[in-house]
Symmetry: C2
Subunit: 213 residues, 2 copies
C-alpha cells in the first residue's frame, strides 16, 4: 500500500484532500500544527477527522492576524491583495515537516489542500510555488522522488464541497473560520465568506454553526 503524508488542518479543504488520498488508495499519515493560531479549534477538528493525527507544536514569529491578537482579522470581504492573515512561510514550514515525516515513514507522496481559485491570494498556495517546492525537496533529501499532490488547486470551493460530499466527507467535523466565537464561525472573515459562497454555489447546506450577530 503506497503511503502518503496529508497536511490536515481540520478545515474543509484539507478534510477533502484526505478523502481524495484515501480514495486513491494511499495509507494516510496526517500531520497538523499548533502554531499559535486564533482558531485552535481546528486542531480538535483534525483529531476527529483522523484518529492517528500527528500534531507538531511550533513557535510563531508574529506578523499575522492569525497569530497576533493585536492585528484584527479583516471582516469586510475578500480583496485582491495578500491579506494580513498571511502567515510568513507557513506552508513552507508545514511542507518541510511533511517532507521529513514522509522520508521517515517511507511515503512518496504529500497532499496539501491548497487552492488557487476561491482563495485569499496567499503566495504559498500558487502552482508555481508548489512546483518549486517539489523540485527543491527532491534535490535536498536522501530519498528523493517526492510528489506534492494538490488535488484541489484548480477547483472552485463549490466543486471541492461537491467532490468531498461524494467521497463521504462529514463537513460537520470541519471548521474554516479564522476568528471563531466559541465554537461558532464568525461568518464574516475571508475563510467563512469563501466557505459560505462554496456551499451556496454547490446547493448544499453547511452543517456547521455560525454565530448569530
Amino acid at each position: 500500500m503506497k503511503r502518503a503524508v496529508i497536511l490536515l488542518s481540520g478545515g474543509l479543504d484539507s478534510a477533502t484532500c484526505l478523502a481524495i488520498a484515501k480514495a486513491e488508495g494511499f495509507e494516510c499519515f496526517t500531520l497538523g500544527f499548533d502554531y499559535g493560531q486564533r482558531h485552535k479549534h481546528e486542531i480538535e477538528c483534525a483529531k476527529n477527522l483522523s484518529p492517528n493525527h500527528k500534531i507538531i507544536t511550533i513557535p510563531n514569529f508574529g506578523g499575522s492576524a492569525l497569530v497576533d491578537n493585536k492585528i484584527e482579522v479583516p471582516k469586510s470581504g475578500v480583496t485582491t491583495e495578500i491579506p494580513v492573515t498571511y502567515v510568513p512561510a507557513r506552508n513552507i514550514i508545514f511542507l518541510s515537516f511533511a517532507l521529513g515525516y514522509a522520508e521517515v515513514v517511507g511515503a512518496s507522496d504529500i497532499f496539501i489542500g491548497v487552492n488557487a481559485l476561491d482563495y485569499s491570494g496567499y503566495p504559498d498556495c500558487r502552482p508555481d510555488f508548489i512546483n518549486a517546492f517539489q523540485n527543491m525537496a527532491n534535490l535536498g533529501t536522501k530519498a528523493g522522488g517526492f510528489k506534492i499532490n494538490t488535488p484541489l488547486i484548480n477547483l472552485t470551493k463549490a466543486e471541492i464541497i461537491a467532490l468531498g460530499t461524494k467521497l463521504g466527507v462529514d463537513y460537520s467535523l470541519t471548521t474554516s473560520c479564522y476568528d471563531p466565537i466559541g465554537l461558532d464561525a464568525c461568518g464574516k472573515c475571508d475563510a467563512c465568506r469563501l466557505r459560505l459562497k462554496g456551499f451556496a454555489e454547490s446547493g448544499l447546506k453547511d452543517p456547521i454553526n455560525y454565530t448569530a450577530y
Copy 2:
C-alpha cells in the same frame, strides 16, 4: 543597517558564517534548533557565540543516528555514501524557519554554513539544493527577494578555519562532534575527522578538548 538571519548551530562552520555576515555589515539575528540531537551541547555553544540567540524546539521523526540513540554514529571514517547521520529534511526545515523569521524581522538575507567540499555528502548541503530553496522561497512568500548566502560552500575546512581566525572567531566556543563524551569531542566521528583535518591543514591548533581513548 541591512538585516540577516543566521542559522547558528554552535559548530565551527556556522560560527564562521556569523562572523562573515557581521563583517559584511549585517545586523544579525541568529537562529538555532533543539531537534533532539545527541550533541545538545552545541546549543550552549551557540548561546555563547550570540547573546540574543533564538532557539526553536522541534520534534524529530527519527531515522537518523543524530537523534536516535539506537543507531550508532559511524566512527570509521568519512565515506562517499550519504551517512546514517543524515537527518531527513533537516536543512529544509531550518531554512524554512529562517525564512519565516527573516520575513517578520524584515531581513532580506539568510546565511547558512553549508559546505560542499569537506562535508559528509548530505544532499541538503549542495549548491543545487540551495538555489532551488531560494527560488521556492521567493515564490512562496509575500516579501520575496530573499537571498540564501552560503559563503563557505566552496571553501575547504582549512580555508574556513583560516578565514574565521582572521575575523576573530573564538573556536574554543564551538563544537562539532556528533557524539561527545561529556563536553569532550570523540575525535572519531565524521564531524570530528573533518574538523581535525581542517585544523591540521590550516596549521592552527584546535582549542577544544578531545576525549583521551
